[in-house]
C-alpha cells in the first residue's frame, strides 16, 4: 500500500508541475505571437487619432478624450442613425440569448448587466441555472452517445474485433462531430455573417469550448439583415455542440487517465495472476480475467463496448467459468 500511495503522490506532483509548465509555455507563446500585432494596432490607432485631431485643429485632446471615454466605457454603440436606436440590446430575444450564454457559462460579455439589480439577479440566476444546464447537457450527451452505441453494436454483429470497434466508433464520433459542429456551421456563418472560413471555425471552437471571448458574436453586425429564426438555430447548434464537446473532452481525459492506469493495473494483475496460477492452476480463468480487466479499464465507451463484450463473454464462457 505504501509504495502505491507514494507513487500516487508523485503522479499528482508531476501532474501539478506539468500543468504549471503548460501555462507558462502558453503564456510565452501567446506573448511572442501577439506582441507585435498589438504594437501595430496601437500605432495605427494613435496615428488615426493624430490625423483626426490635425484635421480639426480647434478640437482639444482633452475634450475629445472625455467624449471617447464615455462612449467606450458605456459600450453602447453610439454610431448610427435614429432608426437603429429602436432596436435595443435588451429586448426579449437578446435577453434570452444573454440568459443562455450565462447558463451555459460561455459568457461572451458583449452584453452585460450594468445595474446593481441586474448584477445581483445575474448571480442568483447563474447559481441555479448552471447546474440545471449541466444536467440538461448530460442528458443530451447521452442521446448522442446512443447513436455511437448503435453503430458499435452493428459493427459487432458483423464480427469485428472489440478493439477495432472501439477505434472506429471513436473515429466516427470525432469525424462526424467535427463535420457537423465545426465545419458546416463555419460555412453557414460565412454566408450569414460574412466572416472568412477560418474566422468561422475560430468562432465555433471558442463558443463550443465555452471560452467565449466575445470578439465574434452572431447576429451583431449592424449592417446585415438576419432571417427571423437565425438566433434560435444558432442556439440549438450551441446546445448540441456543447454536449458533443463535453463528451469529446471526457474521452481525451479518459484516454490520458487510462493509458497510465492500464499499464499499472495490468502489471499488478500479471503479478497476481502468476502467483495464483502457481498455487491453484486455474490458467485459463486467470487469463480470461486479465483480458477482461484490461478491456474494462481501457474502455473508452464503457457503456458501449463493455456491455456488448460482457454479453459475448456470458454467451461463450458463462457456463464454464462459474468462479468468476
Amino acid at each position: 500500500m505504501q509504495p502505491a500511495m507514494c507513487s500516487g503522490k508523485l503522479q499528482t506532483g508531476l501532474l501539478v508541475a506539468g500543468y504549471f509548465v503548460y501555462l507558462l509555455v502558453g503564456a510565452a507563446v501567446f506573448q511572442a505571437l501577439e506582441r507585435t500585432a498589438e504594437k501595430q494596432e496601437k500605432i495605427a490607432a494613435a496615428q488615426m487619432k493624430e490625423a483626426f485631431l490635425q484635421s480639426f485643429t480647434h478640437l482639444t485632446v482633452a475634450e475629445m478624450e472625455q467624449f471617447m471615454k464615455v462612449t467606450i466605457q458605456n459600450g453602447v454603440y453610439p454610431v448610427g442613425n435614429e432608426s437603429q436606436t429602436e432596436d435595443s440590446n435588451w429586448d426579449f430575444s437578446n435577453s434570452f440569448f444573454f440568459a443562455g450564454t450565462v447558463v451555459s457559462t460561455i459568457g461572451y460579455g458583449t452584453l452585460h448587466p450594468k445595474t446593481a439589480g441586474g448584477q445581483i439577479f445575474c448571480v442568483f440566476f447563474a447559481l441555479f441555472g448552471i447546474p440545471l444546464n449541466i444536467v440538461f447537457l448530460h442528458r443530451v450527451g447521452k442521446m448522442l452517445s446512443l447513436l455511437c452505441k448503435k453503430l458499435g453494436k452493428f459493427l459487432y454483429e458483423k464480427g469485428m474485433r472489440k478493439k477495432k470497434i472501439k477505434f472506429l466508433t471513436l473515429l466516427f464520433f470525432l469525424a462526424t462531430g467535427i463535420l457537423v459542429f465545426l465545419c458546416l456551421p463555419s460555412l453557414f456563418f460565412q454566408i450569414t455573417e460574412g466572416w472568412s472560413y477560418s474566422e468561422g471555425i475560430y468562432f465555433a471552437f471558442i463558443t463550443l469550448s465555452t471560452i467565449g471571448f466575445g470578439d465574434y458574436v452572431v447576429g451583431k453586425q449592424p449592417d446585415r439583415i438576419y432571417f427571423s429564426y437565425y438566433r434560435t438555430l444558432v442556439a440549438i447548434w450551441i446546445l448540441f455542440g456543447l454536449a458533443w464537446i463535453a463528451l469529446l473532452f471526457n474521452l481525451l481525459t479518459t484516454v490520458l487517465e487510462d493509458t497510465e492506469k492500464i499499464i499499472v493495473k495490468d502489471l499488478h494483475q500479471i503479478g497476481k495472476c502468476f502467483r495464483k496460477n502457481a498455487e491453484e492452476g486455474h490458467g485459463r480463468a486467470c487469463w480470461f480475467y486479465l483480458d477482461f480487466a484490461a478491456c474494462k479499464k481501457s474502455c473508452l465507451f464503457q457503456e458501449l463496448t463493455c456491455t456488448s463484450f460482457y454479453e459475448a463473454l456470458h454467451n461463450t464462457f458463462g457456463r464454464r467459468n462459474k468462479g468468476i
Binding site: N89, F98, I211, G212, Q302
Partner: protein, 336 residues
Amino acid sequence: MLQSLAGSSCVRLVEQHRSAWCFALLVLGYLLYLVFGAVVFSSVELPYEDLLRQELGKLKQRFLEEHACLSEQQLEQFLMRVLEASNYGVSVLSNASGNWNWDFTSSLFFASTVLSPRGYGHTVPLSDGGKAFCIIYSVIGIPFTLLFLTAVVQRIIVYVTRRPVLYFHIRWGFSKQVVAIIHAIVLGFITVSCFFLIPAAIFSVLEDDWNFLESFYFCFISLSTIGLGDYVPGEGYNQKFRELYKIGITCYLLLGLIAMLVVLETFCELHELKKFRKLFYVKKDKEEDQVHIMEHDQLSFSSISDQAASMKDDQKANEPFVTSQSPTSNDSSLNN
C-alpha cells in the same frame, strides 16, 4: 415465474417512461428558466439602457454643435475605428497607453482564462497565428485542466471531507448522515467567505471604481467560469505592481476553482442528493448478474463526464440540481 417476469417488465416500462417524463420535464423546465431569465434581465436593464442611449445621443449632439467643423460622418468613422480597437483591448486614450496586454504576466493571465474556460475577452488574439495557436492550445489544454483538477480534487477531498467526517462520526457517535450534512454546510460557508467575501473586499480596495457588490459579482462570474469580461482586475490606469497583481489574480482564480470543485464534490457525496439525481438518469436494462459491473462502469464513466461538465459550478448549500458524482469507484479501484 411468469408473473414475476411480467411484473419486472411492467416495472421496467414504467421506469422507462418515468425517465422519459422526467426528461421532458427537464427540457420544459430549462426553457422556462431561460425565458424567465430573459424577462427579468430585459425589464431590469432596458430602462437603464434607454437612459444611457439618450445621454450618449445628447452628448454626441452637443459635441458636434460645439465643434461645428466636424461632420457627423467623420466623427462616426472615427468612433467606429476607436470602438473596434477598444473591443480588441487596445485603448487610444493617452493615459492608458502604458498598459500592455501581451507582456508575460498578462499573457499568463490570458492563458489561464483560456484553459479554465472563462475567456473574458478583454484581450483577444489579434493575429491569425495567435488564433490558430489558441485553438490548438485549448484542445490539448482543457482536457489537461480537467485531468489536473480531477486529480487535485480527489486528493484534497480525502483530507478535507472523508477523514474529518469519519473522525467525527467515530468520535462523537452521531450518524454519518448528520455529520456529513453539517460538515458540508460548514465547508460551504468557509469557502464562500474565503473565496468570495474576502477577495471581494480586497478587490474593492485595490480597484479604483469597483464597489463591494461589483467585486463580488466579478468573483462569482469568474469562479463559475462564465467570464463575461465586463470587470477585469488589473486593467485600471497606472495600476501599481501590475505584474504581481496579475499573477496573484491568476493564482486566486485557480485555487478558487479547485475550492469550488471540492465543495461541489462534498455536496454530491451526500446520500440524499444521489437519490434525487438518479431521477434524471437513464435506467439501464440490466440482467441480475451484470448489475455490479455495470454499476461500476456507469459510475466511473458518468463521474468523469460529470466532472468534465461540472467545470462550471457553484457553491450554495441549497442548490437543487447537482450532478458530479463521487469518485468512489475510482477510490475502490485504487484500493484493489
